[in-house]
């Protein structure tokens, strides 16, 4: 079961981030939502959406976003299982070496 998912989403200005985050938070299995707009264009905006919960259904998230006129560009992080495993820095990571 998915406990945390990070999405890169392209959405129109309307419905607003407030409405999108509210709609996502009402989905079953979702406990918390965070939407951050990191780029604004004339017609659209890019958002990083972090969803946390006990059992997130990716398909229902995707469906809800499509219903709101948004589209998922990429799934950037998924944490699934009994507990969340945080990302750890290893010597292999370029950032860890610098």
């Amino acid at each position: 079961m998915i406990r945390r998912i990070v999405l890169d989403v392209l959405k129109p200005h309307n419905p607003s981030v407030v409405e999108v985050s509210e709609a996502l938070s009402h989905l079953e299995g979702v406990e918390a939502v965070n939407v951050i707009i990191y780029e604004i264009d004339q017609q659209v905006e890019n958002a990083k959406i972090i969803i946390a919960g006990s059992s997130i259904d990716f398909e229902s998230i995707k469906k809800k976003l499509e219903e709101m006129g948004a589209t998922i560009h990429s799934v950037d992080e998924v944490a699934a299982g009994e507990r969340i495993v945080e990302e750890v820095k290893t010597p292999q990571d370029r950032s860890a070496r610098i």
């Binding site: 392209l10 129109p12 309307n14 419905p15 409405e19 264009d41 004339q42 017609q43 659209v44 499509e66 219903e67 709101m68 006129g69 589209t71």
Partner: protein
């Protein structure tokens, strides 16, 4: 409740509220002005039968209502279709089944309804004295000035509403609208005297 929530959501997403407010004021004003013209015209012509005014008024209300609905609906639909197409190009997906597409279709219908109902509504309000007169509540000689007063009051109230939404002097805006109505009344009365 869910239905009303949906409508509220569509209004918010499509941002149709300011447009429909504009349509409402413009066409409600048109409705009141048209009936004012009919009533003053009827007075100038020396009409003694209230049904003449009622049927003319109803005919005009129906025509204004239908033309308002069709005109606003088609214009709004074309404009919104264009906007949706542009958004679809930016998003690279189809949006007609999304809430944006649904809100867009709703907005066209909503604008049409507001545009159609508002003139018919004010026209019917201004015709009320003639309905009452036809049922023997009072004579047509009383119905004419009462209807003119109701039309002028409607115009004044529309002005007040404009003042309210623009957060400006409501009485001043009301007076401005009333002034237009008074001009129409004045012109007709002068024509009647000249005749």
């Amino acid at each position: 409740m869910k239905f009303l929530e949906k409508i509220r959501r569509y209004i918010k997403i499509s941002e149709v509220a300011p447009i429909s407010r504009r349509y409402f004021i413009m066409n409600a004003f048109d409705g009141a002005t048209t009936i004012l013209g009919i009533v003053i015209g009827a007075y100038a012509a020396g009409i003694t039968n209230e049904f003449w005014v009622i049927w003319s008024g109803l005919g005009v209300s129906l025509a204004m209502g239908l033309s308002g609905f069709a005109g606003a609906y088609m214009t709004e639909e074309a404009e919104r279709e264009k906007k949706l197409n542009a958004l679809e190009k930016s998003m690279l997906i189809e949006l007609k089944d999304s809430v944006i597409g649904k809100a867009s279709r709703f907005a066209s219908l909503w604008a049409g309804i507001v545009d159609g109902v508002s003139p018919a509504l004010t026209a019917l309000v201004c015709l009320t004295p003639f309905f009452l007169s036809s049922h023997g509540f009072f004579s047509i000689n009383f119905a004419i000035p009462l209807s003119v007063a109701m039309a002028l009051t409607t115009m004044f109230l529309l002005g007040v509403f404009l003042g309210k939404i623009s957060n400006r002097n409501m009485l001043f805006h009301g007076a401005k609208m009333l002034f237009v109505g008074l001009i129409i009344t004045f012109i007709f009365l002068v024509l009647k005297i000249i005749q």
